[in-house]
Symmetry: C2
Amino acid sequence: MAISNSNNRFSSKLTSQYQNCSLSALCLPIALADEDVNRLDQIIERKRPLKKGELLFHQGEEFDSVFAVRTGTLKTFNITNSGEEQITGFYCPSELVGLSGIDENHYPVSAKALETTTVCEIPFSHLEQLSSQIPSLKHQLFRLMSRKICDDQQMMVLLGKKNADEKVASFLLNLSHRFKKRGYSATAFRLSMSRGEIGNYLGLAVETVSRVMTRFQKNGLIDVDGKEISIIDMAEMEKLVGASSECATIEHV
Amino acid sequence: MAISNSNNRFSSKLTSQYQNCSLSALCLPIALADEDVNRLDQIIERKRPLKKGELLFHQGEEFDSVFAVRTGTLKTFNITNSGEEQITGFYCPSELVGLSGIDENHYPVSAKALETTTVCEIPFSHLEQLSSQIPSLKHQLFRLMSRKICDDQQMMVLLGKKNADEKVASFLLNLSHRFKKRGYSATAFRLSMSRGEIGNYLGLAVETVSRVMTRFQKNGLIDVDGKEISIIDMAEMEKLVGASSECATIEHV
DNA sequence: TCCAATTCTTGATCTATATCAGCAAGTGAA
DNA sequence: TTCACTTGCTGATATAGATCAAGAATTGGA
């Protein structure tokens, strides 16, 4: 609560540290005229880093901003009536979280940092106003929301139709694509979430995630060392996932 | 193809038949000034009815419009690489289909009529332009997309965490809420989709859907007569579903 | 209205994955 | 460093729901 409501800017030292990085270009990847970039920058607030486990916002809280992840990772989740957590998404740098709150004006999920995480806060009412003046910004917003719908529907296919092997392979390749898009290695990366969180997200028991990964390693598909993952046989992994996933296979922006 | 690309207006006879129904108010439920309603009406095209089984658009086809269902029902689906159909949603009257096409400028799914169905075609580029001039329209669009994201995430929870009973109960209550919202009975309605389609959508085998419904009937929760469903014990059904579903429980618009 | 094709239902089995259990390996606080 | 706690791995067993099979009920076309 305290955290997500604190809109304080950083101290001048930290602010200046970020000033000449084209922040908004990162947050909302889009080609804008310089003056528009400035206008966008003016409404964006840098927040203090979240420590692992801290909430960015929580389920039911009033919606007023979307957030762009700068560094670190977030998860969003629901608490179901039976008290268990259901993870609905993981958010890596450059990804936008909070869009689901627009409709009801309340966040329908909570967002929690999986590691030390920094975000930009973008007050939605300002963003919406600005989008009236900058058509390409409005279009980009529509696109981002459309992509989210598309991605979520792929996730529905995964949950409804795929077996444990396909789920885990899809998950790892999806992360791989997201890292690659950001300019990081597509074949070697660190999982910021636990096995339990992966299982929760994929609709699998922890033990199943563990077993599948071990078997993938045994079969030379990947190399696992705790949270460090290397994809060894990308072709075979892609074969497992199948050429499906309309949304996921196309590289964005 | 032919169908989804034909933007021909109806003959004058049909057009006049619809002219004095406030069409846009139905398509995009929103309070607009009269002049704005007219502007919206001008960009909306009524299409000839689709017969059962006809495609409104298909996976991969270029995106140019979203569609509001007027009467009947649609399903959207992917064809997976293994050739099977995966249904990603059902669309009842007043609901908007096609939003997932904005991002890539191609529909990532196909949309097929489950029965004779009429839709309004809303060319998205026009809608987007108009939304610049009518802020409340833009906001409504953001809300609709946000709600879709929210609903899809509830669906992910359903697919990932719920058992067969909970899935079927959730499905029936979700339909019930949607009918109620439109002014129809929340307790007695007709399923326009087959058991097979329900199972496909819920990640269950046809047989399981059949068995669960039979058991629900035996236990006095519902009454089933082919495609006619009556919800007898609403309280018990809601208990089955659980008080979860942030998005679904709140009545919209 | 009749026949063929589809859809639905019900029962019998099978299986992928959950659950249970116990141990190993990290991780963090004092 | 040690201890308590969490996270991860692996084997044994249980089970929800899939699959297989066959008959019943609908549906739709001629």
